[in-house]
């Protein structure tokens, strides 16, 4: 595609590096910014610059934070005996939105994926073990809430093996038919697991 301006071309090249945004969408976004007032572009770029320069990660759970320790880890209302292990910040937000969990988190920053060159060393697994090994550790249960994929399962197995001699219970979030889901369209593995892992009707 030929662009009417070098500046447009460079902006499109940068915007289209974002995930899920191709050249056409990038062009649409860029032309929108050109059409709008200058201030709206500057407000956008300043917010992004401020974010990238100022973002911090909690030194305990590695979640995104405004301070050295995040608001969940500092909160007095949270149950300090449970730690939920997740891949990334999105997962923390998703679980927080359910209002069903009052414990702490531990953000690994991904899952073990040899195909992408990500081994246990690239993740915050040692830091999780440190939290559990720590002299006055109050953690009694570790909930593994990783993706139900090959990589997620591998990571869960790895963590389970590493903590199995520690005095901590390890659980995994339930797999089964999604609420509102249709049995007919569920894959066999999920349906099979949901039968094996059936719970008492209450």
């Amino acid at each position: 595609m030929e662009y009417p301006s070098k500046l447009i071309e460079e902006a499109v090249a940068q915007v289209s590096k974002l995930p899920g945004i191709g050249k056409k969408t990038a062009l649409r976004l860029v032309l929108h910014l050109v059409k709008e007032k200058e201030e709206s572009t500057f407000a956008l770029t300043e917010a992004l610059n401020r974010l990238r320069a100022g973002i911090q990660f909690c030194k305990h759970c590695h979640n995104i934070s405004d301070a050295e320790v995040c608001s969940i880890c500092t909160s007095q209302k949270r149950d300090r005996s449970t730690v939920c292990v997740v891949e990334n910040t999105n997962d923390v937000m998703a679980i927080e939105n359910t209002s069903q969990y009052r414990g702490l988190y531990h953000v690994l920053g991904g899952v073990i994926s040899p195909m992408n060159g990500i081994g246990p060393g690239e993740l915050k697994i040692e830091s999780l073990l440190d939290r559990l090994n720590h002299g006055q550790s109050e953690v009694k249960e570790l909930i593994l809430a990783l993706s139900p994929t090959m990589e997620g399962d591998t990571t869960s197995f790895y963590i389970h093996r590493r903590v199995k001699d520690m005095p901590v219970k390890v659980s995994v979030i339930a797999r089964g038919i999604p609420v509102g889901g249709d049995l007919e369209y569920a894959d066999e593995i999920t349906l099979g697991r949901s039968i094996v892992a059936r719970t008492l009707f209450n």
Copy 2:
């Protein structure tokens, strides 16, 4: 939704102002930037700032340009007797991509839309008339290439009325069944028009 950081919240608020980007997509993009190197965010914001501060509009055709007069208006290879009237830069790029048009353009900056408070005064219509009225105007044909909507048609009628006493031919791009389109799925108005405006088989 609760965000783990004020910085994230502000960035999401800004990104979700872009057209077609909701809060969820904005969050995904923002978390992607946080995950990547700082430099990629700064490269993005700098390209956008440079674009917005440096962008110019051609003083003849009002298309986006790197200079006072755009590369199409200055090109010696273009046919100066034809001017294609379009809504915006996207349309110029789309027509340029067809390689079927070698004339000049005139970018109106929108179409007449009383619902959105856009009258002829908000568009570059007077500037188009100036181009035609100009002493040594070489323009012999005006091609109206506006959207086939109520607003586009209104704008075409308005321009046609304003130029009808000038020595310039006015044409409209062909409406009909898209190439590769299926008759069965064409709407009746398009199909009706394509029968009325049929051309000789060649």
